[in-house]
Amino acid sequence: MVEGHSSHEFNGVEVSGVVEGDTVFIRADGRDGLGHPLDYHALNAIIRKTIMTKCKRIVLEGVLGQRYIGSASSRSDLKIDIHGTPGNNLGAFLDGSTIEVFGNAQDLTGNTMNSGKIIVHGNAWDVTGLAARGGEILIKGDTGYRVGIHMKEFGGAKPAIVIGGTAKDYLGEYMAGGTIAVLGIGPDNGKFPIGHNIGAGMHGGSILIRGQVSHHQLGRGAVFGDIIEDDVQRLDELIRDFEEAFKVEAPRDWSAFSKVCPNTYRPFSGHYDPTLI
């Protein structure tokens, strides 16, 4: 039982929060029964229990950096709204639900996500979308280092990360599939959209960057590719999702985009000598 919360029964499950129709409002800045601030352990237990109610929406208010929120959430008809600042590993192993953050996200957002959607109305920092296999991460602002590392794709599951502002070094490192789009929107408007070592070791997928990118910013194994019709179509889809999520208009000046892609899908072919010695 959380201080300041009334306990309600909802679809047969006792929940700590305020129920309004299909939505449960939970305060994350409350205190537990012992008077301690709600840590991630307690908060996530409340969230998991609330998910069992089959509610359609959970609104978390006053989130104070609690980690691992929404991890492995697999109900595709569920949306989690987060007001405040969620901690690291938001939506890790996410598998179908939608998470919307009205603020900034920290590191490792969408770690190894399988499907679903994460929308961040601010910045999302380092290692966002690590090893994502599907789903979509939309970031209105900037991201930090090593974003989209080792994203991969299989069949119809093609993960995407759309960054409204800028990204730092090692974007798409080890990337094996999916799409990363950097829109470069902001004060510089595409002048410095990205750091160095982009796509180092990538062997699949593509990174589409609006604004100035030079050859020296590419990592080993990454090359510039021609933007083809499929890329424009994918970009258009992703920008549409971005505009819809943030109610803004984003530029569609395709000529300002560069595409970074792998120089081979077999980076280690020829590297080894299998001879019996």
């Binding site: 959430s73 090893a131 590392i149 899908y265 590297h271 010695i277």
Partner: protein
């Protein structure tokens, strides 16, 4: 220039003589050509009416095993280079091969370099006069082993009636102190992995999934599967995490500490592409580090998020390779919240590893497990977790010595594969395994019958468990838990007493008084 490159590459055949040769006894050979069809390395052909060795033999022994008249022997060809104690034949062959290909030398299985084997320099104790030995056939000897978080201490409530009130974390109870290590679908065939899982279920132990996800057909064995979360995160979904018995974060592997995994595109067939969730024919790369783990604090987060994702129902472990500072790293890992820790010694097996790392990096498990156990005990952490040790546990003797050096249980891979047919020819990386184990070629994988292989693995470990009971009985111990870290039941009988000192094992001849 290109012609010269081709010439250098093509000259390898003339410059490197074969190491093995099938010798055919033409008197008993019935010319049935069974050997020709069994040899996946194309080292035998039927030419001019007789079976003829054509070069490239790796001594996998398949032809000899299947010759109906026993007409084939594999001969080890003596050194062909002038004798030299320093520039050994092996060294020179490596140089010649690399001069031809310019590549990083690749090999598989555990290292075959003749490093001293400490297990073989340790002798076991037995009860004499002052404590009675036990006959395991007539008295109960307990080998149940728990994998996971331990309470650390038992607290008993005396209020109403005696009751244990200690909190015990998630644990998995297994019938013997053995787990089958991580052998991924990809490194081995579907039939091979299925056999390992079937054996684990039959034995009531766990078997590792390896990094490659879990094939949907194997979900039925999930409650006996230790699923691996490695740096490539292949196939790791919430669905999969919520079905398995335990989850293990792989940081390192004994055969290639500090190295990632590279499943070459040739092995990424339709089946493998589905379970790893990557396109057919692309290299499946597991990055060298986990890119979300650059510190103990980062590891703590991955452990915590896996606990959250599995709702605290399964033990979360961490596996590291035994390297120079293994004790300090282990302490950090346990403090980061790992419920169990697996240490993999430098002799551990692999489906493919650069020779330079396999043969030269890491430390032996005997020393590693002893120093980790000591360090964790000193820091008051050892009794809160489960310590597992692997890296070439070849026999029940190795298992017993490893437990007495400080492990709760051992991890075994190569021995299980040998039980199925593997002859440790170290060619797994070529994907041509004639025994249908380390290959994805359907004409080869169909050679391995999962049911038979599972029975063989089950038999092997059942026998080891019986041998464990024999030894425990001889020592007068009635539970394997009483052997854990019980170094006093070991004596060192080797050339380097410093090793004994580091392991905390007395020298032979040293007693209580």
């Amino acid at each position: 220039m290109n012609a010269a490159v081709d010439l250098a590459k093509n000259s390898i055949g003339h410059l490197l003589p074969d190491r093995f040769r099938p010798v055919i006894d033409y008197e008993s050979c019935k010319r049935c050509k069974k050997c020709v069809s069994e040899c996946s390395f194309k080292a035998i052909d039927f030419i001019d009416g007789r079976v003829t060795p054509t070069g490239g033999c790796v001594a996998c022994g398949r032809c000899a095993a299947f010759c109906p008249t026993g007409a084939i022997e594999i001969e080890v060809i003596p050194d062909q280079f002038p004798p030299h104690a320093n520039f050994t034949e092996r060294i020179r062959r490596g140089i010649i091969s690399q001069a031809s290909t310019g590549g990083v030398l690749l090999s598989s299985c555990g290292t075959d370099v003749e490093h001293p084997i400490i297990f073989d320099e340790i002798l076991l104790d037995a009860a004499q006069v002052t404590n009675p030995s036990i006959d395991p056939l007539r008295e109960e000897i307990e080998t149940i082993t728990f994998l996971g978080r331990r309470s650390g201490k038992l607290t008993v409530s005396e209020k109403d009636s005696f009751a244990f009130i200690s909190e015990i974390g998630p644990v998995v109870a297994m019938d013997m102190p053995v787990m089958i290590g991580h052998i991924s679908l990809g490194s081995v065939s579907y039939n091979a992995q299925k056999a390992l899982f079937m054996a684990a279920k039959e034995l009531n132990i766990v078997a590792g999934s390896g990094e490659g996800g879990l094939h949907p057909d194997f979900y039925v064995y999930a409650d006996h599967i230790n699923s691996e979360v490695a740096s490539g995160r292949f196939g790791v979904t919430s669905d999969y995490l919520n079905k398995v018995a335990t989850v293990e974060i792989k940081i390192g592997q004994g055969a290639k500490p500090g190295h990632g995994g590279h499943l070459p595109g040739e092995k990424v067939t339709d089946l493998i592409s589905q379970t790893r969730m990557i396109p057919i024919g692309t290299d499946a790369l597991s990055p060298y580090p986990h890119h979300d783990i650059y510190s103990i604090e980062d590891l703590q987060q991955l452990i915590a998020v896996l606990k959250e994702a599995t709702e605290y129902r399964v033990p979360i472990g961490v596996k590291i390779a035994a390297t120079h500072n293994v004790a300090a790293v282990s302490s950090g890992i346990v403090r980061a919240g790992a419920d169990f820790l697996t240490i993999d010694g430098f002799r551990g097996g692999t489906g493919s590893s650069p020779r330079i790392i396999r043969d030269h990096a890491g430390i032996p498990i005997e020393v590693a497990v002893a120093v980790v156990d000591k360090r964790l005990t000193e820091e008051g952490l050892r009794n809160k977790m489960t310590l597992c040790a692997g890296g070439s546990i070849r026999s029940s003797a190795d298992m017993i010595k490893c437990i007495a050096l400080g492990a709760d249980l051992v991890m075994v891979c190569t021995a299980a594969l040998v039980a199925m047919g593997c002859r440790v020819c170290q060619q797994c990386h070529r994907g041509l395994c004639s025994w249908g184990i380390a290959t994805q070629r359907s004409e080869l994988t169909s050679r391995l019958d999962s049911d038979v292989a599972a029975v063989r693995v089950t038999n092997l470990f059942s026998a080891w468990n019986e041998e464990l009971k024999e030894v425990l009985g001889a020592m007068g111990i009635d539970s394997v838990e009483s052997l854990v870290g019980n170094r006093d039941r070991l004596r060192y009988f080797g050339a380097n007493p410093k090793i004994a000192e580091i392991m905390g094992v007395k020298h032979v001849g040293e007693g209580w008084g």
